[in-house]
Amino acid sequence: MGSPAERRIALLFIAPALLLVAVFRIFPLLWGFVLSFFDSDGMTKLEFVGFGNYVALASDNAFRDSVENTLILIATLPIWVALPMLLAILIHQGVPGGGFFRAVYFFPAVLSSVIIGSIFNMVLRYDGSLNAMLKAVGLVPVDWLGSGSTALYVLFSVQLWSTFGMSLLIFLAGLSTVPTELVEAARLDGAKPMQIWWHVIIPVLRPIIEFVGVVTTIGALTSMFGLIYVLTAGGPGTSTTLPEFLIWLEQGKMNRPGYAAAISMLLFSLMAGLAYVQIRIMSKNANL
């Protein structure tokens, strides 16, 4: 702790950042919280309805479906974590062309979701290139984006494709911290590669796995709007509607900012819970 004068100077330095956070983060959040208790058309009507919006959500089919889709998304989390981890281990163990694969895997992470959506729209639409390929080999084409049984999983797969490069880099960084002596010792003791992975490398990577798990979940729940918008528009029915898409729908198309704010608050609560877990993990890892 410095002198009062030093503290004042310190405060002066952090004031701009604090001000920005307060104006652009805290204030909109509080405003959204207040708005969630009102029935508003965004222009002239502003009627206090208490918990009315939250009560209405309980019987809203579209919201219920979006929560179900979110749960399915969370249930697929092991794939989102395991795939980049396995690929990172392979690259780390020196598969031929590892550097090339690392660059290629990371490449989609620099593209905007709208561009990725447009690319996959051309590939996956009914008259797209994937179906043309299926037809060429005598298989039946599938309406990947227009059928309720495939659309959600296709959407997740595209999101996974576009983001796993970042997780892969985090795993590679984590793998560089695995002590080589441990691996060597295991090998000398006669452990097979699978046993080394399972009993040595993965336990050391545990904090990284937890971190990637949390970051991936938050990313998937808050950054899939562009993909949904371009690829499926939330359909067919509500099969690819996630809460963030529903928020946009209620606000932008249905003129119900109060109702949209209520969904936002619930999504925020979920995110806040996950962020709390993330902070716990990161503070635990700080001692490693």
């Binding site: 222009m43 579209a62 009914y126 984006l145 227009g146 309720g148 528009a233 067919p236 029915g237 932008g252």
Partner: protein
């Protein structure tokens, strides 16, 4: 250095002084930079600014898919434009609260324009209509001929349409209808096109008021026809993953479907189709219906017609009177003539001369308009009903729900929306 600062200060004072007496009318739309509409908007700006020295028109074009979101945000934060373009019907009606009531201000042009009802309620009128909008079926005459059909005789009854689709299907080259229902717009066009003939005027009014239930026979029959048309192979596979604007229409323009339900103004209309198919191949007919309402005749199909787009004046605008004057310029016969000639918009101003039009499709549309026109049913449904029918229409095409289940759900949404 000091001189430069002084000069900058003087310039600043001069500029701020200028802005104190110069007036700017901010106009929001989604069309003013569209190449086909540019001549119309530029001419309107020139005419108005010449008549009102010191006043400038500032067009701000917004993307259409985000338009109402941006508009809502701007209006709620009191930063809305002086005047803004709107689609008639539900979109306009949802914004009446923010609009200036225009009845006494537009009395002088009231009789010159049609389409006011899409921008009015029981209290009065809230926008000046620019164009007329409607849905007609466009057909590719070459594909009709290829399938052994008489391209000069488009179908007038449902049975004739079924024969056409059977012939197109038998030929096997293209689907009967182009269909894009990714955002659920496909059902809107299908719904209103069939309701125009299968519902009486009373039924249209009852539906708008939320009294004609979705489970009632006239409404249910339309959803059944949607399912049957798909089952009979009239639509292409993959309609749920095809965007209506513009994937469906681009397919039609490439000659990949025999028919499409299109618009008469703005986009996906005769001018655009003429350009791609050739005016000689672009045919038009009003959509027939499986049943004809008691006040209509079988074989004389009606078509949905409504005020297309129009300008409303922000009631919080400090320049409301000037904005009204500019809306009148935009709707004047001289300017609307340019809008019709260049952009192919069927003008709301009845004084526009349409005699010089050469397009056979446009001539046919004007002929149909002279004798028929029904309310646009979907535009009179609530936003909640529309959103739900978008979703259900996709499930109906996929066979993931039945018509009975869909209308039951729609009844609930309708009751909730009209509470």
């Amino acid at each position: 250095m000091r001189m430069t600062l002084k000069a900058a200060l003087m310039l600043g004072t001069l500029l701020s002084g200028t802005s104190a007496w110069a007036q700017e009318i901010t106009v929001w739309d989604w069309k003013s930079s569209d190449p086909l509409s540019v001549p119309y908007y530029q001419k309107a700006k020139e005419v108005f600014e010449a008549a009102h020295p010191g006043v400038t028109i500032n067009y701000v074009m917004q993307p259409h898919d985000q338009y109402y979101t941006l508009l809502g945000t701007a209006l709620s934060s009191n930063a809305g434009p002086d005047m803004f373009l709107m689609n008639g019907g539900a979109q306009a009606k949802a914004r009446f609260g923010a609009l200036l009531k225009l009845d006494d201000k537009v009395a002088d042009i009231k009789d010159d324009l049609v389409g006011w009802e899409e921008f009015a309620d029981a209290n009065g009128v809230y926008a000046v209509p620019l164009s007329i909008q409607g849905f007609v079926v466009y057909y590719n005459k070459k594909l009709y001929t290829d399938a052994g059909l008489d391209a000069a005789k488009p179908p007038k009854t449902w049975a004739e349409l079924a024969k056409v689709c059977d012939a197109i299907k038998a030929k096997g080259a293209v689907p009967c209808f182009a269909m894009g229902n990714k955002e659920g717009f496909g059902i809107e066009f299908w719904f209103s096109s069939i309701a125009a003939t299968s519902w009486t005027l009373d039924e249209q009014a009852e539906f708008a008021a939320g009294k004609l239930k979705w489970s009632s026979e006239p409404v249910k029959a339309i959803l059944q026809s949607w399912v049957d048309a798909n089952k009979n192979g009239w639509f292409p596979q993959g309609a749920n993953s095809t965007a209506k604007f513009m994937d469906e229409y681009e397919g039609f323009m490439r000659g990949e479907a025999a028919n499409t339900i299109g618009l008469i103004s703005d986009v996906a209309h005769w001018k655009q189709f003429d350009e791609f198919l050739g005016a000689e191949n672009d045919g038009v007919f009003p959509m027939p219906s499986p049943t004809a309402a008691a006040d209509k005749k079988e074989g004389e199909p009606n078509f949905p017609l409504a005020g297309g787009i129009g300008y409303g004046i922000n009631k919080a605008s400090a320049n409301a009177d000037l904005a009204v004057a500019f809306a009148k310029v935009l709707a004047s016969p001289e300017l609307e003539q340019i809008f019709f000639n260049d952009a192919g918009a069927v003008a709301a101003n009845a004084k526009v001369d349409t005699a010089g039009v050469k397009s056979p499709a446009a001539i046919e549309i004007l002929k149909i308009m002279a004798t028929s026109g029904a309310p646009m049913a979907h535009a009179n449904a609530t936003a909640k009903e529309l959103e739900e029918i978008h979703r259900l229409s996709q499930l109906l095409l996929n066979g993931e729900t039945t018509v009975d289940e869909a209308v039951k759900r729609m009844d609930e949404v309708q009751a909730e929306a009209h509470k």
